[in-house]
Subunit: 162 residues, 6 copies
């Protein structure tokens, strides 16, 4: 008879079982930055980038990417997001665009990854739309700003605490 040995690898990748978690309203907000030349930022703000409206393309790409999070991140659970938004803030003194994304769900698992994915793909889209002007753009400071709902409760990144 066949005699199989379980390959019980330490460190094997696993998707956490969330079946017994409570359904609660969950919201996560993430932020990140794209730093560029002053000229590139001015083109974005004036909507004179040759490939088109950068912020609108980045916003739509960010929202659509949030919906693909479970397809991108191996151990993320598929979720039915009830809301995603992507907003932009500019800092002309430092030639930086800040991206903020918010994701919401009534469910058994948090939506941090969805918010972080929206920020990341919005940032990549900004890079793509502007790269013919400025290949040295840097995407940085992608972080979770806040999170509510779920057993672990409210998280607010230290820099936002007073």
């Amino acid at each position: 008879m066949t005699d199989f040995t379980h390959l019980d690898q330490d460190g094997r990748v696993r998707m956490v079982d969330v079946a017994d978690k409570n359904i609660s309203k969950r919201v996560a907000v993430a932020r990140g930055c794209v730093t560029m030349t002053g000229d590139t930022l001015a083109r974005i703000m004036d909507a004179t980038v040759k490939k088109g409206n950068v912020l609108e393309a980045a916003r739509i790409a960010g929202v659509m990417a949030a919906k693909k999070t479970a397809d991108l991140i191996p151990m993320c659970h598929p979720l039915n997001l009830t809301h995603v938004s992507v907003d932009f803030f500019s800092d002309s003194d430092n030639n930086t665009l800040e991206i903020e994304a918010s994701a919401s769900l009534a469910g058994q698992t948090g939506v941090e990854m969805e918010a972080l994915t929206a920020v990341s793909v919005a940032a990549l889209t900004i890079y793509d739309m502007c790269k013919s002007y400025d290949k040295a753009m840097i995407i940085s400071d992608i972080h979770l700003k806040s999170k509510t709902g779920g057993k672990s409760g409210k998280f607010l990144a230290r820099r936002y605490q007073k």
Copy 2:
């Protein structure tokens, strides 16, 4: 008879036509960092993260994401990548993991976005695998390191030039 007016919007988003570009071997290398607590970095290096082998999951996620670039970034052309790799470097002094991704193609358009997408999704996967320990991780300094092939020729980011 119907009389249509073309809505010739300035700033409308467009995908550049690459049909007349030459086919050349193109390689792009991108880099980025994830900063975390010393404890989290130690768990990754020791492969004691509860959700499994972080670097292997991040590497596979990065390679798979490079193949989805045109599905994520609105104006990216679909490409048949011939190679993608994702590597990791650690800096224990600064509690930082560095991610480097390389993408190659013989084609009519560059593969910068594929390399940058691989880095971004590998970084997001590291965040996801470790977020139960450390929600304050920061993904930063995602940038194009180098690029060869195509009309615009070789690009090497200033920090790598001697």
Copy 3:
């Protein structure tokens, strides 16, 4: 300190937050037509199209496309459809195939887009299967026939009201 300015663009694209909507049984029915030559319609009905059974391919493509709606339409919410069906009606006098798709869900948001997407992709599949015979086929009259469930209540397109 960094001083960011919110780029509060009017007209920025947003996904409506449906978290506070009631969960109700929702059904949407959409319809559309493909007009072709009499010869092409006869081939479809006789199952003599060289590329295979047109209606079966179109039906399956329509059902599968309904499941991809949130991946196609930027601001659509991801949904767990409980039912999709696609049916066909022929009108030999006018050389027209009519497509009807129905989608259902118990959820917080309507399924009109899922039904309309099923009709559209079924129609595109009919075009693809028959285009070697008839490039002049026209897809037309794609509309929402009816909708039940949700706050806005029952909708029945005027042409179906007595």
Copy 4:
């Protein structure tokens, strides 16, 4: 010994083998219409639709959908499009928006389906963005306008021939 019988079904669906076709530059242009109330068309033109910039969302959705054609239409070949564009025309007298999409490729198979898919998904996105105002919008007259390249040569729909 096992004795299998080939189920040689007539009408079985098949993907045409294009391996022996010549590589040529191929361009396809498709068109379609969305008819709505005058009020809805005015909101789109004034960019006062609550869900955001309708034309920009529809344009981006159309381009992204063209890249997914082989994933939607069962027997379509996967292609590396070199160009996709989506344009809009308005006809205020008839409360109609016209959508035109163009797709290009240097390859072995035509890109009609990609252009038609871009038009269809752009139209569905217009419906989605405006459906809270106007559920009776109709998507119609989706057709191939022209096609160049490939063995069958140039096609120009009769209505565009002089």
Copy 5:
């Protein structure tokens, strides 16, 4: 007036409506085997396969594929899986790797297809990672081991019954 005839085809493909089924906790476990040369199995176990860690790649591919089941199997309902795991067992006497996948959900429809899809894609990934050594590998005995939840109740394949 248009007079459409319903093409009420027997045998037309349909997605079962699950809206009226009860929500219950559902778990499915599937198994399958890959048979190979002793040399190939030894390389997998020693992690000396040139393309990398075969089991980790297969495990991640299996979990990610379970999340794509509704995108692959035409009439499967989209589901929000709460858990997927993939495990491996070796039988050196018979040069066989056994794959076991488990999928869970609290929902209205079973998750057999998700577990079977995870096993199948994990097996295909093993083939892909090792095919330069051993093109004659055979994937076999993919079956449902057990299933709990739902109206039809508990299923345990005969070979596991005592």
Copy 6:
């Protein structure tokens, strides 16, 4: 200055670089079986399965899955398949359906995985369409029958050699 250490893991997963391989016509043929009760096989052959035409659904699912291979198998290269077909053979004596899939490409890498994926997903679709009758169906003997093109030349599985 930052001092990064390369984590040069043995056994790390990698995608082989195919850029320097020759472009040649490549064809792969794969086969596999589904074993079921005689009653289930009879229903499939008579097209009396309640969920619809099993073979047509399985054929379309197999072709569509071949196009998704690079999205499913982590280290597979994205390819522009020129042809995919799926055929069925029945063996009533042994209550078995055999599936054969063929995939073709003019390219730098083989299409074995595409043919094997088509067989696997066609088999899973057969299971899904019939599982209400027969949960004990077994998918087995999935193997590469033959392969032509590429540096390694012609492969014909031993059982097909005379």
